[in-house]
């Protein structure tokens, strides 16, 4: 356990160092990874969303992404068909995903969401019931 904690600390230090070094394009690779392995399940690989009995909104060319807090709060809290990812994704993954969609798919918002900003809004929630 102690060993694992130590590794975690080392990893965190390395991460923060590399984040400073790569300030020009923070965590773009991480953002792409989160998007393609999680988000595109619903929002689709082209970020154009989908329509069935209900719909998943397009993230491509979406003016609602102008404020970085909006996608952050959607990911953290969820809403309607969108589950909360507060317990599933790490804060740096959430920040990376937000920064990725706000700079791809026809979106060009240069301001960056930081991991600290995500941590500040993470709720203390209990697990969902198992079934």
């Amino acid at each position: 356990m102690n060993k694992m904690k130590m590794q975690g600390v080392v990893a965190a230090v390395l991460l923060s160092t590399s984040a400073v070094a790569m300030a020009a394009e923070p965590d773009a690779a991480e953002g792409k990874k989160v998007y393609t392995t999680i988000c595109q399940g619903c929002h689709m690989p082209d970020a154009k969303g989908a329509v069935g009995a209900g719909r998943y909104p397009a993230l491509a060319n979406n003016p609602k992404l102008a404020a970085k807090q909006y996608p952050m709060m959607m990911i953290v809290n969820g809403s309607r068909a969108m589950p909360s990812f507060a317990r599933m994704l790490a804060p740096d993954e959430i920040a990376a995903a937000v920064n990725y969609v706000r700079t791809h798919f026809g979106n060009h918002y240069p301001d960056v969401l930081t991991t600290a900003e995500v941590k500040a809004v993470l709720p203390q929630k209990s697990d969902y019931e198992r079934h």
């Binding site: 619903c42 989908a50 009995a53 068909a81 969108m82 589950p83 019931e129 079934h131």
Partner: protein
């Protein structure tokens, strides 16, 4: 509890007295009335007595909840109509069979290439004996059932980080775990370490029960011999004729290795109330239930109807629907009441006028992620090579399970296994893959348990529930906070509108939740109609 309190008659003592004096049937009823036995909330076919006075009910969705409601309300004299998004009845009660074509959100289309008679249940796949409601509808609709094997002692439990990644037989893990735990506990007892907790008399009985539970020998040891081999299996089982004497199994797995492997978690899983023998499945696929309901209600279900607006006033409910493919051809149908079984992930996006409390409840329930993959193999190698007949192998790999077919045993020819049943974050990741990628990954991971996969695999089908166009997720996923804040508001009758479904139950994702929710909803609605 201290034993030095003033003596009063405990519940247990009272029951013992009732049992002695009046016999066990009375005792059983007394226990039930005192809340010591959990009776099913399903108490036989619902009786809706009194005239509905010509009232009409529009039901949205032809899943289990919608069709239970439609059948019972029609029987009670209501005018009923069901609107359904799909071109079939059943909803998540669904089997994909050879020849079926399924297109998920994003336009990914799969044509199932399974052989005739082979299928996969992308949604529910088992019917516990204690789910009296859904089982009773199977009985009433003539849906034939067969056993579902939940616990197969000869199937595997597998952890990539334990035993060099080699799958272990459940039987050996379970026997060696309980045997060594029982021996340890016996030792502690004999060392007088329980003297402060139990009387000597109780300790004697404890030791006898540990001997039986753990398959210990007469010295309370779990050692190679008749007792242990009778649990974990033999090195050479007894046979007939010459040279037929058994050789007892002696390569036990050390307790610490079992403990650190985590493989014991499968023992608890098998013990769960909804996993206990007997469990059933419909012959020919879970979808047989929805199909039977669909035949029963053929004249009241209108397919290919996508609901876009629900509006109620003091006189009626008006529901507007469109063609699901084009989004065009809007039509409006009215009724006195509307019972809505549309999943909340979808309903929360439909224009609806209900109280703010109910709307908040509808918006508050996220849907869990789940992915199932069916794989067709050229032969039933799990039976032929490994003597696994039905049941489930559990693994810590993202596939979660390998579910073997609980039917057609010993048959030559092809077979379909559930190659993955993915949950949690893994399920979101698998949903983000294309169907072909999910199948490919299931084959790759499954081959670490069954090397035969690589040679025998033919084709597969994969369903990621967040890409299912008519549910946008697997099942209602309640948290404690959401239950406390929203559950009762969700289940109210709001003027002329109410909901039913697994999402309005305490057993989400189980069909029994849909049945009991529907019966509760129509019972309350009927009461309102009869007394209005």
């Amino acid at each position: 509890m201290s034993s030095k309190q003033i003596p009063t008659l405990s519940r247990r003592e009272l029951l013992a007295m009732i049992g002695t004096v009046a016999g066990s049937a009375v005792s059983y009823r007394a226990m039930a009335s005192m809340g010591l036995i959990e009776e099913s909330t399903y108490n036989g076919p619902v009786k809706l007595e009194g005239s509905p006075k010509g009232a009409s009910v529009l039901i949205l969705g032809s899943g289990i909840a919608g069709m239970v409601s439609a059948m019972e309300l029609r029987n009670a004299g209501y005018k009923v109509k069901v609107l359904e998004y799909n071109n079939r009845a059943g909803g998540r009660n669904w089997s994909i069979r050879g020849g079926d074509v399924y297109t998920e959100l994003g336009g990914f289309t799969q044509k199932c290439e399974f052989d005739k008679g082979l299928y996969i249940n992308p949604g529910p796949w088992r019917l516990p004996y204690n789910h009296h409601g859904i089982l009773d509808y199977c009985r009433r609709l003539g849906v034939a059932l067969e056993p579902f094997v939940q616990l197969n002692y000869n199937a595997y439990v597998h952890n990539t980080q334990a035993f060099d990644g080699k799958p272990q037989r459940y039987r050996e893990i379970a026997a060696d775990w309980s045997g060594q735990v029982a021996e340890l506990f016996s030792k502690v007892t004999k060392q007088k370490k329980l003297d402060e907790l139990m009387s000597a008399h109780d300790q004697e009985a404890l030791l006898e029960s540990l001997r039986s539970w753990g398959a210990l020998d007469r010295n309370l040891k779990y050692v190679p011999g008749r007792e242990s081999s009778n649990r974990r299996g033999y090195e050479k089982p007894p046979g007939g004729g010459l040279d037929a004497a058994p050789i007892y199994s002696k390569d036990f797995i050390d307790l610490p290795d079992i403990l650190h492997s985590g493989l014991w978690s499968a023992i608890g899983t098998a013990e769960a109330f909804y996993h206990q023998t007997s469990i059933f499945q419909p012959v020919g696929g879970m979808g047989r239930i929805g199909e039977a309901f669909g035949r029963e209600l053929a004249d009241v279900i209108q397919y290919n109807s996508k609901v876009v607006k629900i509006h109620q006033d003091n006189d009626k409910v008006a529901v507007t629907y469109v063609d699901p493919k084009t989004g065009g051809n809007p039509r409006t149908v009215t009724a006195d009441y509307c019972l809505c079984t549309i999943p909340l992930s979808v309903l929360s996006q439909i224009e609806l006028n209900v109280s703010p409390q109910m709307q908040a409840a509808i918006n508050a329930v996220p849907y869990s992620a789940s992915v199932k993959v069916g794989l067709q193999f050229k032969r039933r190698f799990w039976e032929q090579d490994e003597h696994i007949y039905g049941g489930i192998t559990y693994t810590d790999m993202p596939i979660g399970n390998i579910g073997y077919p609980n039917t057609d045993y010993f048959k030559s020819g092809k077979g379909v296994v559930l190659g993955a049943y993915v949950h949690g974050r893994n399920a979101f990741e698998w949903t983000a893959m294309s169907p072909a990628e999910r199948v490919r990954t299931a084959v790759e991971l499954g081959s670490k348990i069954h090397p035969q996969y690589k040679d025998e695999f033919e084709n597969g089908v994969a369903v990621g529930w967040h890409r299912v166009p008519w549910t946008l997720g697997c099942a209602g996923s309640w948290s404690e906070e959401a239950r406390a804040q929203h559950y009762e508001n969700l289940c109210q009758i709001d003027n002329r509108f109410l909901v039913a479904g697994e999402h309005a139950s305490y057993i989400p994702a189980w069909q029994e939740g849909a049945v009991t929710s529907a019966i509760d909803a129509i019972t309350r609605l009927h009461h309102k109609v009869v007394n209005s």
